[in-house]
Amino acid sequence: MSDLLNLSLVQARDALATKKISSHELTTAYLAQMESKRALNTYVLETPEIALALAKASDARLQNGTAGLIDGIPLGIKDLFCTKGIRTTACSKILGNFVPTYESTVTQNLWDQGAVCLGKTNMDEFAMGSANLNSCFGPVENPWKRTSDPTAKLVPGGSSGGSAAAVSARMALAATASDTGGSIRQPAAFCGLVGIKPTYGLCSRWGMVAFASSLDQAGPMTRTVADSALMLQVMAGFDEKDATSLNVAIPNYLGNLKTDVKGLKIGVAVEYLDGLSPIMLALLNKGIQWLKDAGAEIREVSLKTTPYALPTYYIIAPAEASANLARFDGVRYGARVEGASLDELYENTRSAGFGAEVKRRIMIGTYVLSSGYYDAYYLRAQKVKRLICDDFARAFEQVDVLLTPTTPGAAFGIDETPTDPVAMYLQDIYTVTANMAGLPGISVPAGLDDDGLPLGLQLLGPALSEQNLFNAASVIEHAAHFPYLKD
């Protein structure tokens, strides 16, 4: 049993292809693990019947040689992706028991290649949060424990906390996630996983509940770089239903994967070193050394706009969210709280349906778009966004890839959450720039802190440089000998 759970996605795929295992065996093992680890609260909906039926169909395809790229692989799906016939809530009370009659493009791409759906994973409500504490289904527990205090429950990061904790705890072989300001990379770092946020437009946003449309990108949560490459290859692709989708051919990331950075120019931005904790600085230096040892050239670069990225993000993202979430009004679907007038129906429904963080961001967003404030906030933020893009463009004239920490530190306790929302927002300080510039970023597990908790390093590249990122991440992965959680 545990042997099955300890296979990586690529290993499991090979074992399925050579008929050493069946999808039914694999899926059954994962379903059992989901049951035994249910206390982590990683899934908000388990779909064992669907999983077994899909596994059976997969096995038939594997038998008759018509299998897809990830046929028979059991996956967790972030509850942000609309799944046909399967309740989708974005972990908000306001969606009630909403069951979509359509399938998101990203999940459809996965099913088309034979993936098996285990269920829907927990997340921060509408992907707003960095600790998975804002879910209407309650917090998710990180399977990793502090060596000094194994009883303390730690957050898995967010917003894709359920996906990260599930993959880390062997409750899914991989999972879908989404990243608007760091929601894939930060939980990946907290749970000792590989998480990539692709170039904006690489994965279709169609059918993914929107948070901030100009920043949202789907991506995979996996245990290894190779798994990440294979998953992204399947998830990505042009979609004419998304006007912001990139019409580019998706390379064979896994086939092209090389643990090789010879001649690659890797930049370290001085601005990212400011205020870095000693442990993160040490980790970054290790990363630099590994890459250097593998033949990369390290250069110092400057990204002067870095300090402005987070405040700018907290104008643009809430502004877009305030409009994106206007459709949740109790009129056509989802939860409704009646009122004596239409305005009262809106007030009652939205007061009861949205959590505190979502309300806060709707208010911020409404404020920054208001007449008289638009120029000072939204318009200026758009200008800063442009400057951030220019900054990156200049940096990538000098280097191929940037190396940064993924987060300021390791996972914190569920009970140690900062009460100041801005302190929580700082979790995204190293990740948010990639969203602002629409660039790809990958977090790869690189080591443990003094208390035995995972830490991640982040690699950023210019648009469509995913292959370079996978290759560089693979070098770090090999050098780091990261002690993955075993079952």
Binding site: M208, A243, T244, A326, F328, V331, R332, L342, L369
Partner: protein, 493 residues
């Protein structure tokens, strides 16, 4: 252009009226602006609703290229400048028939800037009304509040249908000008095939801004009347609004900037919401849609396919067919009428083609339209062919029948659908133009009425009609009247 001569007259003197219009025209298209749902009118409620139109989570808008082409076409048709880059914005407000909680519209960067529409004033002199802009946006759904005491019914069939909002400069000075502007705009979009102009079904709706001021002083505060859905109502609403504002201003009051509704059953406008309750729409560029970039080739291709527009057609009708401006205006008002007219003209075999075309215009406007009104028939359901009508006029032109007899033949054509020459022969109505026959009868009449000839010669010239009548009577009304006149004059001296 001409001087304004329309004023509202009050006790304190004359007030000039300032009118600006925002016309919402539904784009003729099978599918909605950002979804694939049908736009057909009159379907069961909520049967033409795509995921996007219902505002379901995760669904994204994709621009309908045909609607863009239609907007470009309209922009060119009103002489506007098509913008190489335009941007879709979200206009945020909550309403039950607005599923997304925002309307996708164009705010800062519309697809068309500038342009104009030429109208005719009461006295026939032309006036140019400038257009500020044309932009694309989604229509909202429809709310019905009177079917249930505490619930509203929402129909989303209309939600997401493409609209063009065409905004005029405040350059109209009378209800007539406002009506003429909308009529002309409707004619243009119908010619272009970009909007059916069907105001009863709501495919064209007008928001009117009206203000009054003393000539030579700055414009007054305006009130906006929303959603006027016929040209007649537009005239009534503006008239009423002028009266209302005049009364307030004359008694020393101030106009409140507000949105009003026109109630056709009462013929009056009433307040809907004041400026204080005005929405803050929080416009910002829709991040789901990239800026709309139009390459010059696309605009040029549409320009090359533009049909002849009413103003150009009118000019051509006046030049080629010697029509008066008045007649030409009537014929070009609807593209179908103009096409029918030309289908008649082309059938003519008359040698004086200009005269024939002019006569045919008269016949169409007076006789055919008259009969159509009486019989409630449409142009495409006439009982005779364009060739028949042309033949009828040709028969007049070549002297085969008189104008008077032509009217009888026309009545028979309407009843039977038979060809006019066949009817003339069957009824023996061919005009007598044989000189010898006419001269013989004239001579006989003169010979038989010697006393009247004396009286005529001594100055009783009104007796001329008696002689004509006698000749016509003898020839059963079929004599060529011109020839009868000429020969009588010659004989009577």
């Amino acid at each position: 252009m001409s001087e304004n001569n329309y004023f509202a007259t009050g006790k304190t003197g004359l007030w000039e009226v300032v009118i600006g219009l925002e016309v919402h025209a539904q784009i003729t298209s099978n599918a909605k602006l950002f979804s694939g749902a049908s736009t057909a009118f009159g379907a069961d409620p909520n049967s033409h609703v795509d995921y996007l139109d219902a505002g379901l989570p995760g669904i994204l808008p994709v621009i309908n290229a045909h609607c863009v082409d239609q907007a470009i076409k309209t922009g060119l048709g009103i002489h506007g400048e098509i913008q190489p880059i335009s941007v879709f914005d979200r206009k945020n407000y909550f309403y039950a028939d607005l599923p997304l909680g925002y309307q996708i519209s164009q705010f800062e960067k519309p697809i068309v800037l500038g342009g104009y529409i030429d109208i005719n004033l009461d006295d026939g002199t032309p006036k140019r009304i400038n257009v500020t802009r044309l932009h694309m946006e989604q229509d909202a759904g429809k709310s019905t509040h009177d079917l249930h005491p505490s619930h509203s019914y929402i129909d989303l069939n209309r939600a997401g249908i493409a609209l063009m909002e065409i905004v005029s400069e405040p350059e109209m000075r009378s209800p007539h000008e406002a009506m003429a502007y909308v009529k002309k705009l409707r004619t243009i979009v119908r010619y272009l095939g970009t909007c059916d102009g069907n105001m009863e079904q709501g495919s064209m709706r007008v928001d009117v801004n009206v203000s009054l001021h003393k000539p030579g002083t700055p414009f007054g505060t305006r009130a906006e009347i929303k959603n006027v859905n016929s040209i007649r109502f537009l005239g009534q609403a503006v008239e009423y609004e002028i009266g209302r504002q005049l009364e307030i201003l004359e008694s020393g009051g101030e106009i409140v900037q507000e949105t009003r509704l026109f109630d056709p059953s009462k013929g009056e406008t009433r307040s809907m919401r004041s400026k204080e309750d005005a929405h803050d729409y929080r416009y910002f560029p829709d991040p789901d849609l990239k800026p709309l970039v139009l390459i010059p080739e696309r605009i040029a291709a549409i320009k090359a396919m533009l049909p002849e527009l009413p103003d150009a057609k009118k000019e051509r009708f006046m030049a080629d067919y010697s029509l008066s401006a008045y007649d030409a205006d009537i014929l070009v008002a609807e593209m179908e009428t103009a096409a029918y007219y030309e289908s008649v003209v082309i059938e003519s075999t008359a040698t004086d083609t200009k005269q024939a075309a002019k006569t045919m215009a008269n016949w169409l406007i007076v006789e055919v339209f008259g009969a159509m009104n009486r019989e409630s028939r449409a142009l495409n359901a006439l009982p005779f062919t364009p060739a028949h009508l042309a033949k009828l006029v040709d028969l007049i032109m070549d002297g085969t029948i008189s104008g008077k007899i032509a009217k009888d033949i026309f009545a028979k054509m309407w009843e039977s659908g038979k060809a006019p020459d066949a009817l003339v022969d069957a009824l023996g109505l061919r005009q007598i133009s044989d000189t010898s026959v006419i001269e013989k009868v004239v001579d006989d009449v003169i010979a038989a009425n010697g006393d009247k000839v004396e009286a005529y010669k001594s100055g009783k010239v009104q007796l001329f009609g008696f002689f004509v009548g006698s000749v016509m009577k003898a020839l059963e009304g079929k004599a060529n009247p011109g020839m009868v006149n000429d020969y009588l004059k010659k004989k009577l001296g």
